[in-house]
């Protein structure tokens, strides 16, 4: 067997890295380690895109997936302080062998179809071109703004929808989204028998206002008595 070429070496290297990080991601119990392994998968996939002469997609993969989406996931894991998965007996524990069996069937099907594709006499497996113009930024930009303009615009509307959705999901409490006259409720929050505020979950803003009002009333009630006591002392 002749010496493997540089491109074969690179494919084996990055492919092995991607597979290793993917298996590590599934096998890890600590979700932060899974997230870091997934970043490794993304970076190795970006290198594979580079070997496929798609530099723009490789750069966008690193910027969007490894640099934005996974940062968001890591932030969520840190904020929620997610712990390791405890090895307790799973209720549906027959799913694990079933899952592996189904995965094996999937791989077998894929291998069958791949061998069918490349073993046929009339069909020749195409080889990668040494250097191509397709992956350059200019050709992707040309395609995106002439022939595929509608998907591009629809994608931007989709991102706007996701933005609005994420912000509205992350809001806490019942603060009205638009403070217009007649929109802000001024009735005080519910009081228990002792006169203290009954805090209900999600009641932050209204409770805060009611608490401030209560303190103010108590301060005014205390101020004449303080002034009276100062007159007594002074």
């Amino acid at each position: 067997m002749e010496l493997p070429s540089i491109s074969q070496l690179l494919f084996v290297l990055f492919g092995a890295m991607a597979l290793g990080c993917a298996v590590a991601m599934v096998a890890q119990r600590n979700p932060l380690y899974s997230a870091i392994s997934l970043v490794g998968v993304f970076v190795s996939l970006a290198c594979l895109y580079l070997t496929l002469q798609a530099p723009f997609i490789a750069a966008v993969q690193v910027i969007v997936y490894a640099g934005a989406i996974m940062v968001l996931v890591v932030f969520v894991i840190m904020l929620l302080n997610v712990e390791e998965e405890v090895r307790r007996p799973v209720r549906l524990h027959y799913l694990i062998p079933v899952g592996v069996l189904l995965a094996a069937i999937l791989v077998g099907e894929a291998a069958f179809m791949l061998s069918l594709g490349s073993g046929g006499a009339a069909r020749v497996t195409p080889m990668a071109p040494a250097a191509s113009d397709i992956g350059l930024t200019a050709s992707i930009g040309t395609g995106m703004f002439t022939k595929y303009l509608l998907p591009f615009e629809v994608t931007s509307v989709l991102i706007l929808m996701a933005l609005v959705g994420a912000i509205s999901l992350a809001r806490q409490g019942r603060t009205p989204l638009l403070a217009a006259p007649g929109n802000v409720s001024e009735e005080p929050a519910a009081l228990t028998a002792g006169g203290e505020l009954a805090l209900k979950p999600g009641d932050t803003a209204a409770t805060g206002r009611a608490f401030a009002r209560q303190q103010l009333e108590r301060g005014e009630a205390a101020a004449p008595s303080r002034a009276a006591s100062e007159e007594d002392e002074g």
């Binding site: 540089i6 600590n30 932060l32 380690y33 870091i36 970043v39 970076v43 530099p55 723009f56 490789a58 750069a59 966008v60 690193v62 910027i63 490894a66 640099g67 934005a68 940062v71 890591v74 932030f75 840190m78 904020l79 350059l136 930024t137």
Partner: protein, 353 residues
């Protein structure tokens, strides 16, 4: 170079050339960073009415080596309850992400050496150089966030999350302020962007080139975003000593702290190099076509100006509060950067049609 490519093939010869370039660039960057640390201490001293360190060697010139020896011999204290793999991984990510972009910056025009032949003074020249720099900057956020988390102390966690949130917020305006330059240059390749800034006796820079669109707004936006991105004053709340006991690198000691420290200064250097390449003409200057090696001198002069600007700002300005910092980034700087893109695109459209 031809002899080498006859021996082992043109691809391997180019790889060897790039490897040599990477080593030279690595050593040069580390030397410049070491002396930037010294320069910062001296210049800050002069700004504050005192001398900086001037004992070690003539005028303090051997101070960086003394600092390096101190860092090597310090005791390594590892917090007991920390996740060890991430604790060791975070400074590695930080320093790697800081050093990787230097391969795309053009240091000079096409020069020729006696035994090597003609070559451009840039280590790697490819189509998406600017996107590569932005991508590596995005990955650099992990170093900070993981450092804060793995130290398992509340000061570090707060500092790490704040620093990471600040970095990802200002990455947006950083990228958008560069879009104006890409629009007027028509390419993402940094060497071509610098080449297009020749002319006018070497002073036709993107900053004040009125025949294309002068990128003044983009320059100011980029500068502010870059200072925020590298966590320097006035945006250094996450690592200020008086605020969070040195923030996300509180629990790091000795060599790992030295890695974070170096990563910050290399980031400063990288960002200054990007500013000179895109806005100030890179290696362009008077007499470059006559004597190409003087391009390096112009490049280093401009980068030194930016480093001095960083140190000057550190000695002069107070720092932002964190909510002021975030609202400034999202509510002021991002709309200004978008406005710059729209204005540049509109002017170019009317010029082309």
């Amino acid at each position: 170079m031809d002899w080498l490519s006859n021996q082992i093939g043109p691809d391997w010869a180019r790889a060897v050339g790039q490897l040599v370039g990477i080593n030279v660039g690595f050593v040069v960057v580390l030397m410049i960073v070491a002396y930037t640390v010294l320069a910062e201490r001296r210049v800050l001293g002069f700004l504050q009415g005192r001398l900086g360190p001037n004992r070690v060697g003539p005028g303090g010139l051997f101070q960086p080596f003394a600092d390096l020896l101190k860092f090597i011999f310090k005791e390594e204290i590892t917090p007991a309850a920390s996740t060890r793999f991430i604790y060791f991984l975070a400074p590695i990510i930080a320093i790697t992400a800081a050093l990787m972009p230097i391969i795309v910056y053009p240091f000079g025009p096409e020069v020729s050496l006696p035994f090597v032949g003609k070559f451009h003074l840039v280590i790697a020249r490819f189509d998406i150089a600017l996107l590569y720099v932005l991508g590596i900057t995005s990955v650099g956020v992990y170093g900070v966030a993981l450092a804060g988390w793995s130290s398992n102390s509340k000061y570090s966690l707060m500092g790490g999350l704040r620093a990471a949130a600040q970095m990802i917020s200002y990455e947006l305006s950083l990228g958008l302020s560069l879009v104006g330059v890409v629009l007027i240059s028509g390419t993402l390749d940094l060497y071509s962007i610098v080449e297009q800034q020749g002319g006018w006796f070497g002073l036709r820079w993107n900053l004040w080139d009125v025949t294309r669109v002068p990128q003044v707004v983009g320059f100011v936006t980029y500068l502010i975003s870059a200072i925020a991105e590298t966590n320097r004053v006035p945006f250094d709340l996450p690592e200020a000593e008086t605020e969070l006991v040195a923030g996300f690198h509180t629990e790091y000691s000795a060599l790992k702290f030295a890695l974070f420290f170096m990563a910050e200064y290399v980031n400063m250097f990288t960002v200054s190099m990007l500013a000179t390449t895109l806005f100030l003409g890179g290696w362009q200057g008077p007499f470059v076509d006559v004597f190409p090696w003087i391009g390096i001198v112009w490049f280093l002069l401009k980068v030194t100006f930016f480093l001095f600007l960083y140190i000057w700002l550190r000695g002069t300005l107070p720092r932002f509060r964190f909510d002021q910092l975030m609202s400034f980034g999202w509510k002021f700087l991002l709309p200004v950067a978008i406005l710059n893109v729209i204005l540049t695109a509109t002017v170019l459209y009317f010029r082309w049609s």
